[in-house]
Symmetry: C6
Subunit: 78 residues, 6 copies
């Protein structure tokens, strides 16, 4: 959230799959906002990436953001 970088110009994507990718980005941004030091995040990553429960928890956050992105795109209905 620092500075003036635009990383989230829109919730609209062309396809559901791009919408899912955006949900992944949003879930990572939620982590990065709380722990802005990329070094620390990199140090933690191998750890939780091998911990099944952490992976499931990340997947839950992605699912929550995907609800938002899918609704924003009216579920890419046509």
């Amino acid at each position: 959230m620092s500075g003036g970088d635009t990383w989230l110009p829109s919730l609209i994507t062309e396809t559901p799959q791009q919408g899912f990718a955006l949900a992944v980005t949003l879930s990572q941004k939620g982590v990065a906002t709380t722990q802005p030091d990329a070094e620390v995040r990199r140090a933690e990553r191998p750890e939780y990436a091998e911990e099944a429960d952490s992976l499931i928890a990340v997947s839950h956050v992605i699912a929550t953001h995907f609800q938002t992105v899918a609704a924003a795109n009216d579920y890419w209905r046509e």
Copy 2:
């Protein structure tokens, strides 16, 4: 999310049951995105698949995605 493979062309399914299967796929994709190494995921699977709390957590992620898929399909109302 790597490369150009299309794995999520649409959220629309013919039946609720196919929608549930799609929710399962989405929850797995959330894990796979964070831990792209299939070998590591396979190594973790026996572990969490026998851990009741992990199974319940997976079931929660599926439930969250199923909300999205069901809404996208207008709940397959007729």
Copy 3:
């Protein structure tokens, strides 16, 4: 999700109570999909059924599915 069995023909139920029962079924199906071996699931059941936190977690999954089923039925408003 195996084979051609239809276990989820519809999200529509006659009463809220039947809708709640369907939410319970959906939450169990989420577990069964990840651990398809009924023997293993049976082995875990006594364990988590006596663990308060696991019961609360299951109750949360049911609540999430009940949101979906209730919306599908327009909350059985009349």
Copy 4:
């Protein structure tokens, strides 16, 4: 869910407060469905009722059901 007892005739309540009470009932029913033995549930209760994290988890389940009940009642808007 056993037998023919009707415990959930409707999601409609007269007031928000009655709706909250219904959300509490629904969250308890989710637990009772998974552990139908009232004796066992009573045995666990003192335990989790003194465990802050369990109380917070129960409160989360209630919150999820309250979303459903509130939507069903159109938020008791007038």
Copy 5:
């Protein structure tokens, strides 16, 4: 939920901030319903109030209730 006290007359608030305060009240009520003994709750409070994970969990419950209250108020759009 005991007795005839009215603690939740309405979900409507004048401002988003009052709505957030109501979400906090609702999350506390969910805990109080399960552990009605105020003494016990007070005993637990210092403990979880210094436990980061518990604070985050409380914050999640508040977020869930805030969704409900915000929707009830049509997001205080004007």
Copy 6:
């Protein structure tokens, strides 16, 4: 929530990114409400900021608030 400070005048933001920042604020406010002592919160921060599971949990709370803020803004659709 103390005193008369207005910290949440509106859920409306100009851009999705500002909406995400508001979701972060809301998630922090949920913690601050339960633990109003800024000293204690500061003491906990280094701890959970290096704990992957806590960061993921914070990210989940942000995701929940972002659903609310995004809906309030009609997803910034144009």
